[in-house]
Point group: C2
Chain length 365, copies 2
């Protein structure tokens, strides 16, 4: 049996997807080529691309007036690419700061216009402290002339997730960094102007970025925007202005098929709820571990937790590895542990982790 | 037996590399993880990354004062990223125009400064005509205050390759787009300020870009340069500021190992010479096919050729497919045929193509 891999990303993938990729590595469906070896303009790769795009559109019920773009650079590059494409209208962008990722997004956008922190959950200055709550929408101070509002749907490091989307004035499109929660549950795409997500959590290999953008927001890039990152050029060329990351798109398509075979996003959400509830319950009933996040906004995808006695961290991690539970170390900025429960983590993996938590506590409490 | 794949890129890969990738897909060397599933900061992936970087450094004998960066976006993104990082010193960049790729590079750089065509092999205005020769260096009109000079080492569409590198004034670093000839022969890295290459020809999967840059050229990015594409930030973070395309880097490392096992770049060059000579000889002795490029600068990697009677093109291509010779159709901008003979194309593949050329001519001349 393969061990359970709790990495925050790049992250565990469905075993069936990896098996199919291995089987097709030297010869994709009788073509005589690996997918890696196909011209991006060949009829073989075109069929792979169109299938992936269509399946994603179907899974998320993406409305017809939204484009799906397959790009490169990850979430960090989008922190620049989004303002390069969207800030033009007024030169202003507002941000809700809920953790490390949204803070990085604001800092990067500063290069391209006037940025503003409309709300924040920071309780400290200077040394970084874990964020544990979401500022309620009534407290947000959004500028009426902001070209867009940016939020991070799930803060991977802090373990904080949005479950309700804000209502904004019509002229202010909502931009969401959905890197670490996309496809973990249904999403009403029509609530957003733009959704972006690095692939390396719920979609596929690192090096692919998905952008879903409302058509009216396309075509207004700043003159300094590199052509390869101008949404209009990318959209007009079906993501083939520059050679796209073809193999990553192929794997993403297999993952989309796998999600469909699981019953789609409603079924996936139920499993993700069961997994997260199981782990939070185990942490909450223990006095040996704890998770500091407000239960209202606890992430279903990334669950940071801390041993009350951090001197046991190393023993915890090496015991976990021996038990076949991999990559549980917390992000270096906050320490402790983190279990990422993306779609491809089976319930059995979380059961196994809970069993280990209880056993370790018994032996060390 | 697998068919021979003459795609210009993404392109054929060594069968041994694909086989190893298939074998390790579900479990990389007992780690219990696919390489796709590893955190980029894990010790497992760090070892893969360092091995790939070291092997590339060894193959090209990269001097210690050059950094090797693993980036995203391909050659087309570098057309913006290079001026964003290098044009600052004087705001001017000069270009030698030898085909489609160098022309695209100049056009993109226009966004970031004052660009200048120092030489060109264009013989036409308006409608695109194949380029067939290289302007000799004595005719180049380089501005003494250019921040750098850009050349395309091998024009993939036109089939024109540089075999001698220009000598420039010390203050003007030479930038080469080496996307389609890197690792096909030894390269004296010290002659260049910067070398960039999309991976999808001689290195690995699309979605990875290699940049080799002299240290003194790093650290001068324009303020509008996205952080993810600022060479200093990429270098200071060992290409892990944004999550790198980890699986593509793993495949690239396997390809680097394969080149080493072939005897390194001198041995690879000998094979590439034999392959190209064989095909050019077959084309030149025929009155049925022709290649219009000056023999002094004929590409060893991409060999465009034309049937004198283009009405036979479709029959030629479908017969080739039946003979197990794939992706021979020429680029849409020039038509005709193109055989790309990258490192992973064995001599037997070119022999097979030559046999087919002769046979088709016999049947249709």
């Amino acid at each position: 049996m393969r061990p359970y891999n709790f990495s925050a990303g790049p992250a565990t993938l469905p075993q069936a997807v990896l098996q199919q990729a291995a089987d097709e590595m030297l010869d994709w469906q009788g073509s005589g080529m690996s997918v890696m070896e196909m011209s991006h303009r060949s009829k073989e790769f075109s069929s792979i691309y169109e299938h992936a795009e269509q399946t994603l559109r179907e899974l998320l019920a993406v409305p017809g007036h939204y484009k799906i773009l397959f790009m490169q650079g990850g979430g960090l590059a989008e922190n620049a690419i989004v303002p390069l494409n969207l800030i033009h209208r007024t030169g202003k962008a507002d941000f809700i700061i809920t953790g490390s990722w949204s803070a990085k997004s604001l800092n990067e956008a500063r290069k391209y216009g006037d940025v503003h922190e409309a709300a924040s959950n920071s309780s400290s200055h200077g040394h970084y402290k874990p964020r544990t709550w979401l500022p309620s929408q009534e407290t947000w101070k959004i500028r009426q002339d902001a070209a867009y509002l940016h939020i991070c749907g799930n803060e991977t490091i802090d373990g904080i997730e949005f479950f309700e989307w804000p209502c904004l004035p019509e002229q202010i499109p909502l931009v969401v960094d959905a890197s670490s929660h996309i496809l973990s549950r249904p999403l009403d795409v029509s609530r957003f102007g733009l959704i972006f997500a690095g692939a390396q959590k719920n979609i596929g290999p690192a090096g692919l970025t998905i952008v879903i953008v409302r058509e009216d927001l396309i075509g207004h890039a700043l003159p300094v925007c590199p052509s390869a990152f101008d949404y209009k050029i990318v959209a007009d060329n079906n993501s083939m202005f520059n050679t796209p990351p073809t193999y990553a798109i192929y794997i993403a398509g297999l993952v989309f098929d796998w999600i469909k075979s699981c019953g789609g996003l409603r079924a996936i959400e139920q499993t993700n709820l069961s997994k997260a509830n199981l782990l939070y319950a185990a942490l909450d009933k223990s006095s040996f571990y704890h998770n500091p996040v407000d239960p209202q906004c606890r992430s279903r995808m990334n669950i940071p937790f801390f041993l009350k006695d951090p001197s046991r961290n190393e023993a915890f991690l090496s015991g976990a590895r021996e038990a076949g539970l991999l990559q549980l170390k917390g992000h270096k900025s906050v320490g402790g542990m983190r279990a990422s429960l993306y779609n491809a983590m089976p319930l059995a993996g979380v059961q196994s982790l809970v069993h280990y938590l209880e056993d370790f506590e018994k032996r060390h409490a």
